[in-house]
């Protein structure tokens, strides 16, 4: 039966030659290579749970009066969107668990992308020939964050409505075209009942479409270029070593997918996330305190909280400070990430293709830059919760803000320099040629003696391929 199906397909597509190679494709076994897969399986789960949620969600800002089973909100006026999320949470069977799994999956999705990006960065996996996939991956991170923000906004609760309010103000601040952009996207001056429907179109159609396309390109390029490899005995730039796709890798990957979904189901079932019924419906004249965005927006919220006053008057026009920290800063941050392969190429001048990865210590200056930027982002994310911290420690929020402003300027350079120093010391603190245990390649001569030959690739010195001499 299967044999006949395979023959039928091969008669029409000539698929056997592809299948033969594909089934015997080598996939390296290393835990760090699972990070991207975790993001992928979160995405699949997000599409599945999101489809379920869409069937019950009403994208409307129209005023309704709540008459459902959740007593604390009985008789409260709210948008139809918020009412539909309450109905989904309290009346649709399995609705709440689906909503919570969806939200948890979104949180883990972006987290997995970020950790995956860090792995690629610190191991130099973005170097030639993999720059294109770094660009696509950065795009996926940005799309993932936008997807998260738009989804977070849909319930139209007090927290998410405040988030949209801030986003509107950021758009409004763009010089020359800001008011037009804001009015066109929101369909008028904030708040408008129409914007919730537009956010839904972004969240369930445009952004997922782009995500699907980018994920496809990302995977196709990985497939075509083959995986990178951590250096080790017998490993060279010219070979990839690992388990065959069928059945070893396929089984492990399917198993991983199921475990990822299992963990998200556990989180969604047992750990409450985004209980919108506690926040209440959005009302433009009230805001709750403390207010927290989802974790991956925290750094953007943090920079808004830490930045000192910074309005600029220019030829009778105003450039609000929020434009600088809310538009220019994230733009520059993402541009820096996106262009990193080109920046590093400019610095090192290294033009060779690399399939063997760096260890973190191998390139101290890159690791230093990475840790410095990471520290910067972490401090900003912490700053996004400065009111929570103030409440927790029982000190005025001004103290936390001032302390974090200092930390933002001091910690990243110190952390970066320490990383640089530690990596350098792990390398022996001396130039490659002076190291005691360096990598050599031996050749046996016709007379039975041994002679040393030059290593034949730039990675050899930093890494691995041959046996360590004494």
């Amino acid at each position: 039966m299967i044999r006949r199906l395979v023959l039928w397909l091969d008669d029409r597509l000539g698929a056997a030659s592809f299948a033969r190679r594909a089934l015997r494709k080598a996939f390296p076994d290393h835990w760090a290579f699972m990070l991207g897969e975790i993001a992928l399986y979160c995405f699949v789960l997000l599409v599945l749970t999101g489809t379920f949620l869409t069937l019950f969600y009403t994208a409307s800002g129209q005023d309704v009066t709540y008459s459902g089973p959740y007593a604390p909100l009985a008789g409260v006026r709210m948008s139809a969107a918020y009412a539909s999320v309450l109905r989904l949470s309290f009346e649709v069977r399995a609705g709440l668990v689906m909503r919570q799994i969806h939200h948890w999956a979104a949180l883990v999705f972006v987290a997995a992308i970020v950790v995956h990006l860090l792995r690629i960065f610190f191991t130099g996996a973005f170097r030639r020939p993999r720059e294109i996939n770094w660009f696509v991956g950065t795009g996926l991170l940005i799309l993932g964050m936008l997807e998260g923000f738009t989804g977070y906004s849909l319930p139209d609760d007090l927290l998410s409505g405040t988030g949209i309010r801030i986003a509107y103000s950021v758009v409004l601040s763009i010089p020359l075209v800001g008011t037009w952009l804001a009015f066109l996207f929101f369909g008028g001056e904030f708040p408008t009942p129409i914007v919730i429907g537009r956010l839904l179109v972004l969240h369930i159609m445009l952004l997922p479409g782009l995500l699907f396309a980018a994920v496809g390109v990302h995977l196709a390029i990985v497939w075509h270029q083959k995986h990178t490899l951590f250096p080790g005995p017998g490993r060279t730039e010219r070979m990839v070593v690992g388990s065959p796709l069928w059945p070893h890798y396929a089984m492990k990957s399917v198993g991983l997918a199921l475990v990822v979904v299992a963990i998200l189901a556990l989180l969604g079932g047992l750990f409450q996330v985004n209980p919108v019924w506690l926040y209440g419906p959005y009302n433009p004249t009230t805001a709750s305190a403390p207010a927290q965005p989802d974790w991956y927006i925290g750094w953007l919220e943090g920079i808004l909280r830490l930045a000192p006053r910074g309005d600029i008057q220019l030829f009778g026009h105003l450039i609000p400070g929020i434009f600088i920290v809310g538009v220019l800063f994230p733009g520059a941050f993402f541009a820096g990430i996106l262009l990193w392969p080109l920046i590093e190429h400019r610095i090192t001048g290294d033009d060779a293709p690399h399939h063997l990865l760096n260890r973190v210590r191998d390139v101290p200056w890159r690791s230093g830059v990475g840790v410095g930027v990471l520290a910067f982002a972490v401090i900003l994310t912490v700053a996004g919760s400065n009111d929570v911290l103030a409440r927790f420690f029982g000190v005025p929020v001004e103290w936390i803000t001032v302390g974090l402003r200092v930390a933002l300027l001091v910690v990243p350079p110190v952390a970066g320099y320490l990383t640089y120093g530690i990596c350098r010391d792990l390398n022996g603190g001396a130039p490659e040629s002076a190291r005691v245990g360096r990598w050599v390649r031996l050749r046996r001569s016709a007379t039975g003696g041994f002679e040393e030959v030059e290593p034949d690739g730039p990675d050899r010195g930093a890494g691995t391929a041959e046996r360590r001499g004494h």
Partner: protein, 297 residues
């Protein structure tokens, strides 16, 4: 050329049907049985009305044991195999590159030979692209002057969020209330904070003392930083705090920012109290309320 070469793993403790495999097989089988039981239980929970915690936990057991079973199967029951595959160099062979380049150029030359036509084609595509942009204008109204005014007007009565007119007598010193122009209760752009302080303590800009009858000052509630409602008032320090980014405004000096990211004071609404004590606006705000934008003076 195959490019694939088998390489048995060095550890070599794997052979099909080795005794240890039976124990592993039992483990995998148990995992799958657990998964089946959890899935059946999940169906039962759903059928009797559903319960979020049980649904999540049973789904986790069902998927988790299934995934663990498959991973254990792959790890312990498959014959370990490490294969190595040769990489093809990234650039195509030089001959192929040259051939592709030629094909591109030959085709292109046929097009560019017709200079006038190819220019017209570019022009047509550009015009079409431009025309396709116009529907964007349908998305919303232009901003016009709408950001420069609110629903407050001369003589508009000040009402609370239930629509009742507010008079000076209703307000004790130190109290704060959110108010709107009569007929526009709940209006996001016209929301105003009414605060009563000791009249002598006010240090408003020249000419604005008259806007605060009996020490009642009115400020736009929309933060000049990012537009959140400035909801928190500390009567002891006379400070307003925005919960979003902690911009802090000093009420006595005309809601000037004293901490945080906001640069501009909250716009002050000119008030008057007639003989009956009911508060009214003398006029609309004299500057745009809310966060900054390009055309703001």
């Amino acid at each position: 050329m195959d490019g694939v070469r088998r390489q048995p793993r060095a550890t070599g403790n794997a052979s099909p049907g080795r005794p240890a495999a039976n124990g592993h097989g039992r483990l995998v089988g148990t995992a799958f049985i657990l998964s089946i039981l959890a899935s059946l239980a999940l169906t039962a929970v759903y059928a009797v009305g559903g319960q979020p915690q049980l649904e999540g936990a049973l789904l986790a057991v069902s998927l988790g044991t299934l995934g663990a079973g498959i991973i254990l199967w792959a790890r312990d029951l498959l014959i370990p195999e490490e294969i190595s595959e040769e990489r093809e160099p990234e650039p195509s062979p030089p001959g192929m590159r040259a051939a592709a380049e030629t094909a591109l150029q030959m085709g292109g030359r046929q097009l560019t030979r017709r200079t006038a036509l190819s220019r017209l084609l570019i022009g047509a595509l550009g015009a079409l692209g431009l025309a396709a942009l116009f529907p964007i204008r349908s998305l919303g109204p232009g901003p016009g002057r709408s950001l420069f005014h609110t629903q407050w007007s001369a003589g508009a009565r000040v009402v609370d969020n239930e629509g009742h007119p507010v008079s000076v007598r209703d307000l004790e010193v130190g109290s704060v209330v959110t108010v709107f122009p009569e007929g526009f209760v709940g209006s996001p752009v016209s929301q105003v904070l009414l605060i009563r302080v000791e009249p002598g303590s006010l240090q408003l800009r020249p000419g604005r003392l008259a806007w605060a009858p009996d020490g009642v000052v009115a400020f736009s509630k929309i933060c000049t930083h990012a537009g959140c409602p400035v909801g928190l008032y500390d009567a002891s320090t006379h400070q307003l705090l925005c919960p979003c980014h902690q911009s802090t405004f000093d009420v006595l000096s005309g809601a000037t920012p004293v901490f945080g990211p906001a640069s501009r004071p909250l716009p002050q609404l000119p008030l008057e109290a007639r003989a009956d004590g009911v508060l009214r606006a003398r006029a609309d705000f004299q500057e745009p309320v809310g966060p900054g934008f390009w055309d703001r003076p």
